[in-house]
Symmetry: C2
Subunit: 108 residues, 2 copies
DNA sequence: ATCCCATTTCGGCATTTGACGAAATGTAGA
DNA sequence: TCTACATTTCGTCAAATGCCGAAATGGGAT
């Protein structure tokens, strides 16, 4: 599938757009993302897979967690992600303060 | 629905992305778009409605046709549409030469 | 006012998508 | 190797989406 089509499809879902906006705040593991989004682990995992395939996010292993982060190495993706700076948190019902406070140790 | 979410949803469909790329070439009526895309009138019309609701396109009445064109008045949309300049025609299977040659009179 | 024709709406169908819980997998540490 | 736990995969379901042809609509021209 075309690179751009994949990106637009990936961002054209409210849950995934919220995840990307969260990862703009800080990188997180699946269970931290779940803390904010509220869906099941498998659902979150599936969304992350789609975001990964669109090259929007990347991940790094850290201890026994997998830390997801925005992919800043791809130029196309960078440009698209910059656009998201214009979205205000309440527009997509995202509590950035809460997102900042997630903590792996207490959750997982 | 959030403005950006609507835009991403609208562009996250191959047919609609192709339509937008076509309208970058020139403004067209539904039947000209059909000439290139090949789907039914109703299908095209539905896609145009979704693009309109995302503010990506606009239209002008001209004689008994409705001419669809990219909406250049909205800043957000402008930024997103600029990104599309990086998509090559063959990536989304669009024949720009053919798109340039469509002609309302002979089709409708 | 009526005709013509471009466009939209409607109803129905097949496919895709997003959700879940349960089971499977993978990996770090004992 | 075994254990514990984070994450992914699988099977299934309901809802959303995209498509079509037919019927309805609407606006320009006669």
């Amino acid at each position: 599938m075309n690179e751009y089509l994949k990106i637009f499809k990936a961002l054209g879902d409210k849950t995934r757009l919220r995840i990307v906006m969260m990862l703009k705040v800080k990188s997180m593991c699946v269970c931290e993302i779940r803390e904010i989004i509220g869906s099941s682990m498998s659902t979150i995992s599936n969304h992350l897979k789609i975001l990964k395939e669109a090259n929007l996010i990347d991940f790094q292993k850290e201890e026994r967690y997998i830390n997801y982060e925005l992919n800043t190495s791809n130029k196309t993706v960078q440009i698209v992600l910059n656009i998201l700076d214009n979205i205000s948190d309440n527009e997509i019902e995202l509590d950035k303060q809460k997102a900042l406070k997630t903590n792996r140790i207490e959750i997982c």
